[in-house]
């Protein structure tokens, strides 16, 4: 089975994530789109790992690290979103222009 199939699937998921980050206004929905992009990267890692056979084992290990870092990112990200909601009563990222020059 050609490895390119998996790479196209990963490119599709990544592009959907990019669209979500650009077009969504709700901060939690932007975080959901970022998860899509991280998953696309993971699919790439696993596909290359399978392509290389036994030599590709680090691909699986790095996919595990990506999952762990993504979990940390979601925790801190949601804490920030909740804090912003508490202070400003909105999670609309187009209205978060406080630090914009």
């Amino acid at each position: 089975m050609p490895v390119a199939y998996f790479l196209v699937l990963s490119a599709l998921l990544f592009s959907i994530g990019v669209y979500g980050v650009l077009a969504r206004q709700h901060a939690v929905l932007v975080l959901l789109s970022i998860e899509l992009m991280l998953n696309a990267a993971n699919i790439n890692l696993i596909a290359f790992s399978a392509m290389l056979g036994d030599a590709g084992l680090p691909g699986q290990v790095f996919a595990l690290f990506v999952i762990a870092v993504a979990a940390a990112e979601v925790g801190v990200g949601l804490a920030i979103v909740i804090l912003i909601y508490r202070n400003r009563r909105t999670v609309d990222i187009d209205e978060m222009s406080l630090m914009k020059w």
Partner: protein
């Protein structure tokens, strides 16, 4: 022959993940977006199983579907997002769609060109890879593994500190 079955499974997953992924970024109901994300993540886990990465697949199910999506739903609940249909898109949808489409075209073109003729040999791997992944994590990659655990601890403490109310605020 086995390859034909794998191809059928793969394309079924491809279509499922594509539709669910597009629904994540287009649906007007925030809870539905999170649930469509679950479908996409489970599809990714199935892809991992297809590629002999069972351990990563189960970590995906436990961490993503079990923890991250639940966290997201809590985030939606605590920010009192309007659950019904509301417009969560800004006015750059067309530009965003063009950007994403171009990115998909360019990246898939480059990937297909670069890895043309490279095959995944499903007969070379036999049995499970869980044992070798465990050995790799606790021998060569033990330092990054410990650093990741420290990072998770720091993120946990940081999230608690950030989202906790100040003492003065509580007294008001």
């Amino acid at each position: 022959m086995a390859d034909t079955y794998l191809q059928i499974i793969f394309w079924a997953l491809f279509v499922m993940m594509g539709i669910a992924g597009i629904r994540v970024v287009t649906t007007r109901n925030v809870v539905h977006a999170a649930l469509y994300l679950v479908a996409t993540l489970l599809g990714a886990a199935s892809i991992y199983v297809l590629l002999y990465a069972e351990f990563v697949a189960w970590v995906q199910v436990l961490v993503y579907v079990g923890a991250v999506v639940v966290l997201m739903l809590f985030g939606l609940m605590l920010t009192k997002a309007p659950i019904g249909s509301a417009n969560f898109d800004n006015n750059q949808r067309l530009v965003a769609a063009i950007c994403a489409g171009l990115l998909f075209a360019v990246s898939s073109f480059i990937m297909v060109r670069a890895f043309e003729g490279q095959e995944i040999d499903f007969t070379s791997t036999e049995g499970t890879t869980v044992q070798s992944v465990g050995e790799a994590i606790f021998s060569i990659y033990v330092l990054p593994f410990e650093i990741v655990s420290l990072l998770l601890l720091a993120a946990l403490v940081g999230a608690v500190v950030i989202s906790r109310r100040d003492e003065a605020e509580v007294e008001d």
